[in-house]
């Protein structure tokens, strides 16, 4: 058959010459290669102490953001739950009372906001769907745990820490 | 001290050689045979024949018995596939056993307790004296047997060589 490309290489198996059949030169070469690796710098990162920098488009644990006055941005519109392909997000909305004005930005807020981290696939669609820029996947790796119930993260773990009072 | 060690080891060798015969499982009986050879090694050491002891150790315990064990492990012998012996074979076995016993009893009766043998040269069993004997008066038979063994080994290697098609 005519070759389609000119990259074809005919493999010729030559019989080994004496030096090759003696194994020993090849063995010495192999030992030399491994020994050169002995003195190379190791590629290991000691994980809990040292951490590799995340890339700029890394998607980790979710965080619910606050605005510049320290009020929660989320208005419990449910678009994130709707866009979620893994159906990991659930929420219960509530109406803001007048005295809670400095806690929540909009008149409706999420009283309960839960993400099941075992279902979440970290696709980032909630982040894109959010009209209020309230949810971002900018956190670290979700830590491991022993019980399934401990992977359902509520607002206590998701909402950003309140702003420092000046 | 030497005599008491001898009696203990001798009793052990008799015990283990009996176990070789009485063990039901062939692998067990080979293992008992190995222990028996080990007691023989101890006997050689008691006789100050270190070279013989070590050679017995290497050749019999280390090589030949490994091969025995090797074959027996592959055979997978057990009670189920033991063929039933015909009455004739049993009769022949009884006759042969009795003959052996008569011979043994007869030869034992003929022996008498001899005077303890004192070696003129206590270093008789050491390598040096053994080597002088082997390479002196017994040079020819020694060399011939070594060539015989060498040719057997070369033959074994040749047997595995594929014939050129």
């Amino acid at each position: 058959m005519e070759p389609l490309t000119n990259r074809k290489k005919v493999l010729v198996q030559k019989p080994l010459n004496l030096a090759e059949r003696m194994y020993l030169p090849a063995l010495a070469k192999g030992l030399g290669i491994t020994m050169s690796h002995f003195f190379k710098k190791e590629a290991t990162i000691r994980y809990p102490e040292q951490q590799r920098e995340f890339s700029t488009n890394w998607r980790g644990m979710h965080s619910l953001k606050r605005d510049e006055d320290g009020r929660e941005r989320c208005t419990a519109c449910g678009l994130c739950a709707l866009s979620c392909p893994a159906e990991a997000i659930t929420m219960i909305a509530a109406e803001r009372k007048p005295e809670e004005k400095d806690l929540y930005r909009e008149e409706k807020y999420a009283a309960v906001y839960e993400i099941n981290m075992l279902r979440c696939i970290f696709c980032g669609l909630c982040e894109e769907a959010c009209p209020k820029e309230a949810i971002y996947l900018d956190g670290p790796i979700v830590p491991s745990d022993y019980l399934r119930k401990d992977f359902i993260y509520g607002k206590d773990k998701l909402v950003e820490a309140p702003l420092e009072k000046k | 001290m030497g005599t008491s060690v001898f009696y203990i080891v001798a009793a052990l060798s008799i015990f283990f050689s009996l176990m070789v015969i009485f063990a039901k499982n062939p692998v067990h009986s080979v293992l008992y045979l190995i222990v028996t050879f080990f007691t023989f090694t101890v006997h050689y050491i008691l006789l100050n024949a270190q070279f013989l002891a070590v050679v017995n150790f290497i050749v019999y315990m280390g090589a030949i018995m490994v091969l025995f064990l090797f074959v027996l492990m592959l055979l997978n012998l057990n009670k189920d596939n033991e063929p039933l012996k015909s009455p004739l074979v049993k009769l022949v076995g009884i006759v042969a056993g009795c003959c052996l016993m008569v011979t043994l009893v007869g030869s034992l009766k003929a022996t008498s307790i001899s005077e303890p043998l004192i070696l003129r040269d206590p270093g008789l069993g050491l390598i040096k004296s053994l080597g002088k004997e082997l390479f002196g008066p017994f040079m020819l038979p020694f060399e011939l047997s070594s060539i015989l063994l060498l040719s057997a080994m070369v033959g074994a290697v040749l047997l595995t060589k594929k014939e050129k098609a």
Binding site: L31, T34 | V27, V54, V55, G62, A63, M73, M153, T160
Partner: protein
């Protein structure tokens, strides 16, 4: 006098036994570290500084694990196997001269348990016994993979024993004695036997790799074909004994190689050191040098393991019977001829 002698030897035996156990223990750690360094990794570094307590943790794990004895196995032989492997690995240390005599007070202590005049043959015999632990364990497991592995181990050991014996014969022609003590004494300074028997040394080393079942000849425990090899059915400390025996074997064969071919406790310039340090410290330095050589060999064993892939079984037999044995025989003949010529003229 008699009792003092027995006590002296007992202390020596205990020390050597302890040292070989500790070295075997830390060989497991060193193996993992060397493997890691050769692969640009770090190796165990969590237990203690640099992971120094890793062997202790491993040992504790082995002891704590559940002991499983297969129902259809031969219970008694199943138990004997690991013990036998351990025993045959340990008794090899008895004839190795660890150093020249040390003067303590006005008493001369020999750093060798016993100097029998067939020392080399004794080592050889112990090595040939080593296969029984593997064979008995493999057979008693009543597992076809264990049995296959046991048979592999047996045929491999028998095949390589021949080449090993022949390479030792060439060495005996040079030294003229079978006592390990005298062999080491002859190599005073830098007159190491490896300079007179380079081919014999390479043969011996290849055979030592095969006899200790180390890579590239670790066919009895090759995972891709035989699950875990002869110790597939073993668990807990019995498994630990098998693994431990392998490392003790490695230590003993390193010691034998260092003593037979690399001068044991001799090193260039030892006379000057001996003259300046006295009869107590001087021999101890020699012992340290000997251990340095042993560690170098152990490192080499590991280095080879993490470099060369495992042989195929027919390649192993081909190498043993058709290459090593003929070379060993030629080596014996040539050595004999050279010695005859030298003695004649």
């Amino acid at each position: 006098m008699e009792i003092a002698f027995v006590i002296e030897k007992l202390i020596l035996v205990t020390i050597i036994f302890g040292i070989s156990l500790v070295i075997a223990m830390y060989s497991t750690y060193a193996e993992r570290k060397v493997a890691a360094f050769l692969q640009d990794r770090l190796g165990p570094d969590r237990a203690g500084p640099f992971g120094m307590f890793q062997p202790l943790a491993d040992g504790l794990k082995m002891f704590m694990k559940e002991e499983i004895v297969p129902t259809e196995s031969n219970k008694w032989l199943f138990m004997v196997g690991p013990g036998l492997a351990m025993l045959t690995a340990c008794i090899g240390t008895a004839v190795i001269p660890w150093g020249s005599a040390i003067q303590i007070g006005d008493h001369l202590v020999q750093l060798q348990v016993t100097d029998i005049n067939v020392g080399i043959l004794y080592i050889f015999g112990v090595v040939s016994l080593g296969v029984y632990g593997v064979m008995i364990g493999g057979w008693a497991s009543n597992n076809k993979y264990s049995l296959l592995s046991a048979i592999r181990a047996a045929s491999q050991n028998i095949s390589y024993e021949i080449a090993m014996g022949l390479s030792i014969i060439a060495l005996l022609l040079v030294t003229g004695t079978m006592s390990l003590k005298e062999v080491v004494e002859q190599q005073h300074g830098w007159h190491w036997n490896v300079l007179y028997q380079p081919i014999g040394f390479i043969l011996f080393m290849v055979c030592a790799f095969a006899e200790t079942n180390r890579a590239p000849f670790d066919l009895p425990e090759c995972e891709t074909e035989l699950i875990g090899g002869y110790h597939t059915e073993y668990s807990s400390m019995k498994l630990g004994f098998y693994l431990f025996a392998e490392y003790i074997n490695m230590f003993v064969s390193s010691a034998v190689m260092a003593a037979l071919y690399f001068g044991g406790y001799n090193y260039p310039g030892m006379d000057w050191v001996l003259a300046h340090t006295g009869t107590t410290i001087g021999p101890l330095i020699g012992t340290l040098v000997f251990f340095g050589k042993i560690f170098a060999f152990i490192f080499f064993f590991m280095w080879v393991r993490w470099t060369i892939p495992r042989f195929r079984y027919d390649q192993l037999m081909h190498l043993g019977w058709k290459i090593l044995i003929p070379i060993a025989i030629v080596n014996v003949v040539v050595t004999g001829l050279v010695i005859a010529v030298i003695e004649k003229f």
